[in-house]
C-alpha cells in the first residue's frame, strides 16, 4: 500500500506535450506528465512504449522534437530545461540510473559514488596540482560523504571492491547511490528491479521508500515489476505506443479497463 506522506507541495517536474520522433517513427506523442514534491511516481507500459525515451529526453540525452520540460526544485525558481546539456541537467538536480547497468566497472564502489560528487565540488587543475588545504579538505569530504551514501544503500562492506566484481543486485544499488551523490531533488530510476530476485526486490522496495523518507526527494521510476510498482508508488502513468493511456493512483490503475486491456491482462492476476 502506498505510504502516506505530506504531499501538499507543487510539482517539481512538469512535462508538457513532449514529442520525440526518430526519423519517421514517433516514439513519444504529446505526453504530459508531472511529479510533485516527495512523490513516488511510476511509469509503466509494455516494452517499446517510449518510457526510456522520456527519461532520455528529461535527462538531456535526447533533444525532444517538440514539447517542454520544466523543473522547479523545492525553494527554487521554475526553469525550462528542454534540450539542456546532460551534465547541466544533473547539476540542476535530476539524476538517473540506467536500464542496462552503466556503472564504472573498473572503479571501486567508493570511487563510483565519488564521481557522483563531481558536480557538487570544485577543485580544478590548479587545485589538483597545488593541493592546498581547501582542496585536501574537499577531497576528504568527498570520501566521507560518498561513504555515507554507500552506507545508506547498504554497500559498506563492498566499499573498496571494483564495481565489476559486485553481485548484480549490489551493482543496481550502487547505481542508485551514485545518482544520489549528485544531490538530486528528483531521482529517475530506469527499471531498478530488473533482474532482481524477489528477496532483492523486497529490499529495493524498502530502499526506495527510505530514500524518499530520509532525503525528502521525489522519485520517478520505470518498472515492470507490478508488485513493486503497486506497493511504492503514489501515482502511476501508463504508456502504450508512445502515448499516455492512463494515469492515477495504484488502485485506480488496477481497475482501469483500458490499462488491463492494453497491458496488464493476465500478468496482473498475480
Amino acid at each position: 500500500m502506498p505510504q502516506t506522506f505530506p504531499q501538499n507541495k507543487g510539482s517539481v517536474l512538469d512535462i508538457v506535450n513532449l514529442t520525440m520522433n526518430f526519423g519517421g517513427l514517433r516514439a513519444i506523442d504529446a505526453v504530459n506528465l508531472h511529479v510533485k514534491q516527495w512523490e513516488i511516481v511510476a511509469l509503466i507500459g509494455p516494452n517499446g512504449a517510449g518510457k526510456t525515451t522520456i527519461f532520455n529526453c528529461i535527462t538531456g540525452l535526447y533533444k525532444p522534437t517538440a514539447g517542454d520540460i520544466f523543473i522547479q526544485p523545492p525553494g527554487r525558481k521554475r526553469k525550462r530545461v528542454t534540450g539542456m546539456k546532460i551534465h547541466k541537467i544533473t547539476k540542476r538536480g535530476m539524476a538517473r540510473t540506467f536500464q542496462n547497468i552503466r556503472i564504472f566497472s573498473n572503479m571501486t564502489a567508493l570511487e563510483n559514488v565519488m564521481i557522483g560528487r563531481h558536480c557538487r565540488t570544485k577543485a580544478g587543475v590548479w587545485e589538483a596540482v597545488l593541493k592546498n588545504k581547501r582542496t585536501r579538505k574537499e577531497e576528504k569530504d568527498i570520501v566521507s560523504q560518498s561513504y555515507n551514501i554507500l552506507a545508506k544503500v547498504g554497500l559498506t562492506q563492498a566499499v573498496n571492491e571494483l564495481a565489476k566484481n559486485l553481485p548484480y543486485g549490489a551493482q543496481r544499488r550502487l547505481e542508485i547511490a551514485r545518482a544520489m551523490a549528485t544531490e538530486p531533488f528528483l531521482l529517475l530510476l530506469d527499471e531498478p528491479a530488473a533482474g532482481m530476485n524477489p528477496y532483492e526486490t523486497k529490499e529495493l522496495d524498502e530502499l526506495i521508500l527510505r530514500i524518499r523518507e530520509e532525503e525528502r526527494i521525489s522519485i520517478l521510476m520505470i518498472e515492470h515489476d507490478m508488485k513493486l510498482v503497486m506497493s511504492v508508488s503514489d501515482r502511476i502513468y501508463v504508456m502504450d505506443y508512445g502515448e499516455k493511456i492512463a494515469e492515477g493512483s495504484p488502485s485506480e490503475i488496477r481497475e482501469n479497463h483500458v490499462v488491463i486491456k492494453a497491458y496488464l491482462g493476465e500478468e496482473f492476476d498475480a
Partner: protein, 410 residues
C-alpha cells in the same frame, strides 16, 4: 596425439609463411640493371622462424586464456619478479635513492655523447607521460601528438628568428601555444567516437607537418630552421660539454615536474573524471561531469608537455625541420606508452628508456627498430595489453577508522 597435431599445424604455418613472404623476401629486382636477385636463404629463415614462433604463439595464447580465467577469480594480476621485490617499501626507497644518485653523477662520469642520449630518452619520458594523459587516462587515442611537439619546436625557432626571443621566454610560450592547439583541435572533435577521434588527430598531425613543409614563407619549408641558440645560463656562454650537462639537468627537472604534476592530477577530482569518461561516456555525463571540459583539459594538459619538450628539442639540436615530426614520431611515442604500460607513470618511464636506449646501444639492430616496434605493439596488445609494467591503478582505499581516507596502492 596432441603433440603431433600441433607439429603438423606448425609445419603448415611455416609453409604458409614461406609462401606468403616469397615475392617480397626472396626476390629482389633491380630495375636499373635488370638483375634479379634470388635470396633463398631468407625463405629458410622465414620457414624456421615461423615454425618456432608458432609454438611460442600457441603457448602464449593458451597462457593468456588460462590467465583470463585466473583474473575472473579475482586473483591479483601476475607481477614481474622485479615488481614483487619492489613491493617492499624499503626496497622502493633505496632504489629511488640509487637512481637519484646515479642521475646526479651521470653527466660527470659519462661522455657528452652518452649524456645526449640520456637527455633524449628523458625527453621521451616527458612526451610519453604527456601523451599518456589523453591515451592512458582519458582514453582518447591521439595519433597526431608529434604535431604539438612541432608547435613547441617551431614556436621557439620562429620566435627566436624573428624577434630574438630567448629560450626561457620561449619555454612557457611554446607550452602555452601547444596547449592552445590542443584546445583548437579538441573543440570540434569532441563529439567523435574513439576511433574517429584517432583518425582526426592523425589527419591533424599530417596537416601540421604538410603545412610546415609547404608554407615556405612561414616555416622555411623542408629545409627547416638552423642556428637555433642553445639555452643560456644566466648570460654565461657555455661550451658544448657544459650545454649537454645543462640540458640534461634541465630535462631531469622537467621530468620530475611532469611526474609530480601528473601524479597529483591522477589522484584528483579531474583525474577521476577522466577515468569515468574512459569507462562510460554516457554515464559520466549523466553524473554531472562536463565532458567537453574534461576532454579539453586532458588535451590541453597533454599537448602542453609536447610543446615544452618541443622547445627543448629545438634548443638541443639547434636545427629543426618538418621531417622530425612525422606520423612515425607520433607512433613512436604511442609505442612507448603501449609497450611500457598504458596509464601508469612507471610504465611510461620504462617504455621510454627501453625504446630509446635499446636501439641506441644495439646499433646493429637500429635498422630493425621500427619493424620491432610494430611487432611489439601488436604482441603487447594481444598478450600483455597492460604493458610491461603492471601497476594496478591506485584506488581510494577506505579505512573505517574515524572515516579518515587513506590512499594506498591496492
Amino acid at each position: 596425439m596432441r603433440k603431433i597435431k600441433e607439429l603438423r599445424q606448425s609445419l603448415l604455418i611455416s609453409v604458409w609463411f614461406m609462401f606468403l613472404t616469397f615475392p617480397i623476401m626472396v626476390i629482389r629486382v633491380n630495375t636499373i640493371d635488370n638483375i634479379i636477385e634470388w635470396r633463398w636463404m631468407n625463405m629458410i629463415y622465414v620457414g624456421l622462424g615461423s615454425f618456432v614462433f608458432s609454438f611460442i604463439w600457441r603457448y602464449l595464447l593458451s597462457k593468456k586464456q588460462s590467465g583470463a580465467k585466473l583474473l575472473k577469480a579475482d586473483k591479483p594480476a601476475y607481477l614481474l619478479p622485479m615488481q614483487r621485490i619492489f613491493a617492499n617499501p624499503w626496497m622502493q626507497m633505496s632504489a629511488l635513492f640509487f637512481i637519484a644518485v646515479f642521475a646526479v653523477i651521470f653527466p660527470f662520469v659519462f661522455s657528452s655523447y652518452q649524456i645526449n642520449i640520456m637527455t633524449t630518452a628523458l625527453m621521451y619520458v616527458v612526451l610519453g607521460l604527456g601523451l599518456n594523459i589523453v591515451v592512458g587516462q582519458a582514453g582518447l587515442l591521439n595519433l597526431g601528438y608529434a604535431a604539438f611537439y612541432a608547435v613547441g619546436a617551431y614556436s621557439y625557432a620562429l620566435l627566436n628568428y624573428h624577434f630574438g626571443i630567448g629560450f626561457w621566454t620561449a619555454l612557457p610560450i611554446g607550452a602555452a601555444l601547444a596547449a592552445l592547439f590542443g584546445i583548437i583541435l579538441g573543440l570540434p572533435v569532441l563529439r567523435l567516437r574513439g576511433d574517429y577521434l584517432a583518425i582526426v588527430t592523425l589527419g591533424f598531425g599530417e596537416i601540421v607537418r604538410l603545412v610546415l613543409e609547404n608554407w615556405n614563407e612561414f616555416s622555411f619549408g623542408p629545409s627547416g630552421i638552423s642556428n637555433i641558440p642553445r639555452p643560456g645560463f644566466f648570460g654565461i656562454e657555455l661550451n658544448f660539454e657544459q650545454v649537454s650537462a645543462y640540458l640534461y639537468f634541465l630535462v631531469i627537472g622537467i621530468c620530475l615536474l611532469a611526474i609530480f604534476v601528473i601524479r597529483r592530477l591522477q589522484n584528483s577530482r579531474i583525474g577521476r573524471a577522466w577515468i569515468a569518461m574512459r569507462e562510460d561516456e554516457v554515464a559520466c555525463q549523466s553524473m554531472g561531469i562536463d565532458m567537453t571540459r574534461a576532454k579539453l583539459t586532458a588535451l590541453a594538459l597533454s599537448s602542453m608537455w609536447a610543446g615544452l619538450v618541443g622547445v627543448i628539442f629545438a634548443a638541443k639540436t639547434t636545427f629543426i625541420n618538418p621531417a622530425s615530426f612525422t606520423f612515425l614520431e607520433s607512433a613512436m611515442i604511442l609505442s612507448i606508452i603501449v609497450i611500457g604500460g598504458m596509464g601508469t607513470i612507471l610504465g611510461v618511464i620504462v617504455g621510454a628508456f627501453l625504446l630509446i636506449l635499446l636501439p641506441e646501444y644495439l646499433r646493429a639492430l637500429s635498422d630493425y627498430r621500427m619493424l620491432a616496434f610494430g611487432a611489439a605493439i601488436v604482441l603487447m596488445m594481444i598478450f600483455r595489453p597492460q604493458g610491461i609494467v603492471t601497476v594496478s591503478r591506485r584506488t581510494y582505499q577506505f579505512s573505517d577508522e574515524n572515516h579518515a581516507p587513506d590512499i594506498s596502492t591496492k
